[in-house]
């Protein structure tokens, strides 16, 4: 079973990546399971076309002993098994503990043994804010991690923070960094920035998702790009990315950047931004 996590800053496009590569792998004949580890619970929306009851919704209503697997796992586009961990309302409880509880319940109800997925993909909320959100990095739940980032300084800062979390677990031999995924949807679309960041981490950029109006169009219709525009160039990009990740054997222990190094990247972005602004003014 191939198991990996997709991490990244909030709103960076993790769920877009996860749902599309899940659809691509399913199209390739694989049994795929995706688990959204985010209280927002919207990862599977594009695969299923609606929100699904979360593991924690059912846990709250029925308790751990009365839950059934079919109440928390739903089949979406291409037969992809979708699970959402769910979580508490904002401002109460412990969302991190919720991720732990949800992943425990999924295993306890036999999701991996009964459904026998070939690929399991975890889509994890933004930064690794606490131990709960690091849960997919532990206990062999995932082989490696892919971090989605744009060129924006805060996205790179978050990606660097995630790498700090990964390094902690990589030191224990639990999980490694597989690579970065570049999302071109930012103020400056300059892949070299992320290439340079990846090189300093000691990692590779596994694929690039360019800015494309097809993605929001598909999402407005609650579909993956593979379903909405299967013959498009962007759909092929997701297919390539899915296969690249699935076949990736590189296991990297990242070397997170210092604040000074991050500042340098910020300066590079600033220069590019100024150049872009000057070009716009000239036009």
């Amino acid at each position: 079973m191939r198991k990996f996590c997709i991490y990244g800053k909030g709103g960076i496009g993790k769920s877009t990546v996860v749902s599309n590569i899940a659809a691509a792998l399913a199209e390739d004949g694989k049994t795929v399971m995706v688990m959204g580890c985010d209280p927002k619970s919207d990862m599977s929306r594009n695969l299923i076309g609606r929100r699904i009851p979360t593991v924690l919704d059912v846990f709250r209503a029925k308790g751990p002993d009365e839950m059934k697997l079919e109440e928390i796992v739903f089949e979406g586009f291409g037969g992809v098994y979708c699970v959402e961990s769910g979580g508490p309302e904002p401002g109460v409880g412990c969302a991190g503990r919720g991720v732990i509880t949800a992943t425990d319940m999924l295993a306890r109800l036999g999701a991996f043994n009964d459904l026998e997925p070939d690929v399991v993909i975890y889509d994890v909320l933004g930064d690794v804010v606490c131990g709960g959100f690091a849960m997919p990095l532990r206990k062999g739940l995932a082989d490696d991690v892919y971090v989605v980032t744009t060129c924006d300084p805060m996205a790179i800062y978050a990606a660097n923070n995630i790498c700090k979390g990964i390094k902690r677990f990589a030191d224990r031999g639990a999980v490694f960094l597989g690579g970065l995924i570049y999302n071109g949807r930012s103020v400056v679309d300059e892949p070299s920035i992320v290439e340079s960041f990846a090189a300093r981490l000691g990692a590779k950029v596994m694929g690039r998702i360019p800015m494309s109006e097809l993605i929001p169009r598909a999402e407005i219709r609650r579909k993956t790009v593979l379903e909405y525009a299967p013959d498009s160039e962007i759909a092929d990009m997701f297919r390539d990315l899915a296969l690249t990740i699935c076949l990736n054997k590189d296991r990297i222990m990242p070397e997170p950047l210092s604040d000074d190094e991050l500042d340098k990247i910020n300066e590079e972005i600033d220069i590019l931004l100024r150049e872009k602004e000057e070009t716009t003014e000239v036009i």
């Binding site: 508490p88 309302e89 109460v92 409880g93 503990r97 919720g98």
Partner: protein, 388 residues
């Protein structure tokens, strides 16, 4: 072995004997606190709990707390609820005071934040008493009266000790206004009427608070173990109150009856571990019974090091709590239980104290019996000598 802030707060608050303590914790914390408390006072169940489970940790425990408050309000006819929050709600950030404010109850509610990871049992005890002090009222001072501060309702021999110390102080013309924390809510509210606060090992922060808020001075004294210890205790209080020194002398007859045993035990190497009373116990054993103190440790000290030190010493009697059963069993030496928690002995007769003049007799008798009753187990003992 320190129980952490939650246990300290629980012990302080459950000492208000007509209050109900509502613990906002997972079931284990509640069970532990209840079990240690109920060994020698089984009908005294004035405890409710939100019983947090994983559901409450993930989604927050505020609803469970609200429900528990409403149910406990129906269940208990009591003038005071004390809500003590432990580790789990502190970690997830439950708005405990907000929930309490949102519920209409026909009684006083005091909220005590006592996450175990935030401090020691002593700190929990001190802070909880100061928190409860918001209930106290300014009162006209009663001449020659004292509050005894530092007690807990689940201490070994607490009923007998309080009875004995009250008897001794009454004999010296001193009234005990309030025993903190082993009193009614009414007595606690009226505690500022005392002329003097007598702090016995713990409760100093409450005494400081009462001095500042109500002008009640305080005196810190040793827990009165032994004849000298008791005389010093009474004399210090009398001196402070200008009540004259107590003329009544302790009865030495019981000691005369066993003087040969006491002579034989002179120089016995012993070790002591416990709460704030441990040091005072060690002083009694050393200065009055002539024992040699090998290891003296407090609950906040490293327990592993304590055990190692005891193993590496000549200790032949250990004074401590039920927690010391394993080490004394391993070393095949008697254990004299005198400090919290004692959960494998009961303490039913309240005329057999360890404190005061009568306590000196009972304690000496307990020590002798602990040694003599251990006779058959001494058979295989190898006595350590300096030559090895």
């Amino acid at each position: 072995m320190d129980g952490g802030k939650f246990f300290g707060a629980f012990r302080a608050c459950s000492g208000i004997q007509d209050a109900v303590v509502l613990t906002h914790v997972p079931v284990g914390c509640n069970w532990g606190a209840a079990m240690f408390k109920s060994t020698s006072n089984q009908p005294d169940i004035r405890q409710a709990c939100t019983v947090m489970h994983e559901r409450e940790i993930v989604f927050g425990g505020e609803e469970a707390l609200r429900e528990a408050l409403v149910r406990a309000n129906r269940l208990y006819n009591t003038p005071l609820f004390v809500v003590i929050t432990g580790d789990a709600p502190a970690i997830i950030g439950d708005d405990v005071e907000g929930v309490i404010d949102s519920v209409t109850l026909n009684k006083e509610v005091v909220c005590v934040d006592a996450a175990g990871f935030k401090g020691t049992m002593r700190k929990g005890y001190e802070e909880a008493l100061v928190r409860l002090a918001q209930l106290m009222k300014e009162r006209t001072v009663i001449k020659n009266s004292v509050n005894l501060i530092g007690f807990c309702p689940d201490e070994f021999k607490v009923d007998a000790d309080v009875k004995e110390l009250t008897r001794l102080l009454n004999n010296a013309g001193i009234k005990v206004n309030c025993v903190i924390s082993k009193c009614s809510l009414d007595e606690f509210v009226n505690a500022p009427a005392a002329e003097l606060n007598v702090v016995m090992g713990q409760g100093t922060e409450l005494a400081e608070h009462m001095k500042k808020e109500f002008g009640v001075p305080y005196l810190e004294v040793d827990y009165p173990y032994g004849l000298e210890g008791t005389a010093d205790f009474i004399n210090a209080i009398c001196e402070h109150l200008h009540a004259g020194v107590n003329e009544k002398k302790p009865d030495l007859e019981p000691f005369k009856r066993i003087y040969l045993y006491l002579h034989e035990l002179y120089g016995t190497p012993v070790s002591v571990i416990g709460d704030s009373h441990a040091e005072h116990m060690a002083r009694f054993l050393d200065s009055e019974l002539g024992f040699d103190i090998e290891v003296l440790a407090g609950n906040e000290d490293d327990y592993f090091i304590f055990e190692q030190n005891v193993r590496n010493s000549n200790t032949t009697i250990l004074f401590g709590s039920s927690f010391e059963r394993n080490i004394t069993s391993e070393l095949r030496i008697p254990l004299v239980r005198f400090t919290y928690p004692v959960f494998d002995h009961v303490c039913v007769y309240d005329d057999a104290p360890y404190a005061g003049f009568r306590g000196a007799v009972c304690l000496t008798e307990t020590i002798l019996n602990a040694v003599m009753g251990f006779g058959d187990k001494f058979g295989g003992l190898t006595i350590k000598t300096e030559e090895g």
